[in-house]
């Protein structure tokens, strides 16, 4: 173990790396937490929905000429990639809910949990069958002479070097915008109120005239759309897409959701950034070999010491 002497520029480098990762984890974790909040289901297929989102973004990019000769300007191109991936993944989430989870809604909880794992493997293998086993690359480094990676904030403030490329700014800002939009939706809209009511007590919500099925479908759509956005973000910044990418990201996002307090929307955001920063600082200040051990150690620690997470509240049991 080698601890480096404190260098503020290095700290800022690791901070920006952690925020980028955290933004992605937070978006996926939001999906976990929303679905858990509504159905008390841990949707282990959620990571693979994110993988499909990354593929959709890739096909939009290549369909519009690819990174070397894009047929549309940069901003509409990126917006289009986000839009198509979010809608595509949203619809995929709805299909998964309708055919895999709804028939099991009243089954013992282990049944949908196992089904979620099955859907995860199904999506992974289907992606291999449909898109091939080779790694696909967004090659965004080649897009408009590397503008996404070369431009951005490159400055020195009080002797501290700050390098934040345009692509990372896009990732962090879009994640924050999506999270704010979700917060507004959950807190200020009728759908949000219905989602909160369904989450609190599904039967009572139904008795109050809320169309619970519609709320669940909307939840799956939104959660999966956020995963799709996260997939495009990863494609833009880390470029590579493969059918295996969803499993590990899904587990990390699950960790983020638990750390934040599963079922709690602000908790998932906080957990996502906490896990991203923990991973980045562990890798930077300690050892790249143990970064996953540290992240999953965090999961175990929270499960043992604070199972409700940072912002979760203990469930009240009526006995």
């Amino acid at each position: 173990m080698e601890l480096l002497a404190f260098d503020p520029s290095f700290f800022v480098d690791e901070l920006t790396a952690g925020l980028t990762l955290g933004a992605v984890y937070a978006l996926i974790a939001l999906g976990y937490t929303m679905i858990y909040g509504i159905l008390k289901l841990l949707n282990f297929a959620h990571g693979d929905v994110y993988m499909i989102g990354a593929y959709i973004g890739y096909f939009v990019l290549t369909g519009l000429g690819g990174p070397l000769a894009p047929r549309v300007p940069l901003v509409p191109l990126i917006l289009l990639m986000f839009l198509v991936a979010m809608v595509g993944c949203g619809l995929l989430g709805v299909v998964i809910e309708r055919f895999a989870y709804r028939p099991l809604r009243n089954a013992p909880r282990i049944a949908p949990l196992i089904t979620a794992l099955g859907i995860s493997f199904f999506l992974e293998s289907s992606a291999q069958l449909l898109f091939g086993a080779q790694i696909r690359s967004y090659d965004t480094f080649d897009l408009h002479n590397s503008v996404l990676f070369v431009k951005g904030i490159h400055t020195t403030v009080h002797g501290v070097r700050i390098d934040l490329s345009l692509v990372r700014i896009i990732v962090i800002l879009s994640a924050v915008v999506l999270m704010l939009a979700l917060t507004v939706l959950v807190r200020k809209t009728a759908l949000g109120k219905a989602m909160r009511a369904t989450s609190y007590d599904r039967e009572a919500a139904a008795m109050m005239g809320i169309d619970v099925d519609r709320v669940i479908v909307a939840t799956f759509f939104i959660a999966s759309a956020l995963a799709g956005a996260a997939g495009v973000m990863v494609g833009l910044v880390f470029q590579q897409v493969s059918n295996f990418m969803g499993f590990q990201a899904g587990l990390k996002a699950f960790t983020a959701a638990v750390v934040g307090g599963i079922g709690n929307v602000p908790g998932a955001m906080l957990g996502g950034f906490a896990v991203g920063l923990a991973e980045s600082f562990a890798e930077g200040y300690w050892s790249s070999t143990f970064k996953d051990a540290i992240v999953f150690g965090l999961l175990i620690a929270f499960m043992l010491l604070r199972p409700t997470g940072l912002l979760g509240t203990p469930a009240i049991q009526k006995v």
């Binding site: 920006t16 080779q134 587990l251 599963i262 970064k291």
Partner: protein, 392 residues
Amino acid sequence: MKSRAGIVLLLAAGVAVVSAAVAVAATDGSRAQQHATASAAASCKSPHIGMSAPITGPAGSIGSDQLHWAQYYVATWNKAHPTFHVTLDQFDDQLDPAKAATGAQSFASNSKDLAVIGPAGSQQVIAASPIYKRAGLAFLTGSATRVDLTDGHLRGFFFRPVPNDSVQGPTDVTYALKHLGVARNDHVMLVDDSEAYATGLRDIMKPKFEAAGVKVDTESIAQTDTDFTAIVNKTANDKVVFLLFQVASQAQLFAQQMKEKGRTAIVFGSDGTFDSSKFSVNGSYVSFFAPDVTNVKTSARTVNGFYKKFGHSTTPFGAPNYVVAQIEINAIFKACKDGKVSRAEVRKLIPKTSLKTTVLGVPVRFSRNGDVIGGKFFIFKIVNGKYVYVGS
């Protein structure tokens, strides 16, 4: 009373852990069934050889090229020897040790298979070797270069016509010291991909640099990683960053992320990153265990024949498998002189191989432990996306 939510969470974590454990356990395969596979069905009328390669997956482009070169030799042989038709049985191990063990099991159980080409990676060789050894099968790799594979424990079973990392490590270190300006008290970074091949190479290079007074930082990644930012952030003082990877596209990402951060260290990839279609960042270096076959003048006809059959594209990972197929099939042919053949007979004949020249432009003879005698590594510099030979 425990909360129900807590129980479900614990259950979920349990399911996650169990599924991970199942995946790991698969590595062990079903090796218990391996005893004494009979080679009675092996026949000189229709001899088979097996091939375990990563035909799909992250190294799919390399594996399919390796398969094509082996297929090319088999097709060439069959055309020239219509009465001695050889069949190539293939298995896609996806560069996964667990799958390589499964592939070994299937070849071991198929009594028609007399020898095996592959596996391609050192960690797959480690996983599959006990199975091949128990089945009495010779297996030759065209690309696994970890040193201890030929420390004697696989003597008579495992061979490779390419040099090992005890040649690569010193070649790379010497090149960095002599030509890349690395001097005493300079810093270099060795990044491995946590696999047997890469950690073995790291363990060879680190003491050599330290003996020259160079300060070495070591880092590890996983073969599925795409975000190297946290490691890249540490390269500010490094003169050279060595990427000991097996997935060339990861080297590309690493080098690009260095550029994104404005890092100026020279990137130097090991043989696993040798793929100009995937790793092409200008000014980087790559070492490789074979010359680029497309530049070997005496092999022009063979290469053109390959292009005709499989399209105008190949990687230097491919051609060594042509040589491996050549060695195995010739050994089987010799064994069949008396009309009978067994795995043991093929195993005895392979070490006697002596090819004065090969498609690689170099001779092939084996040491007692199965290494090629006199093999060397070649260093290439990436110039405008092309690999230019700069030394050895």
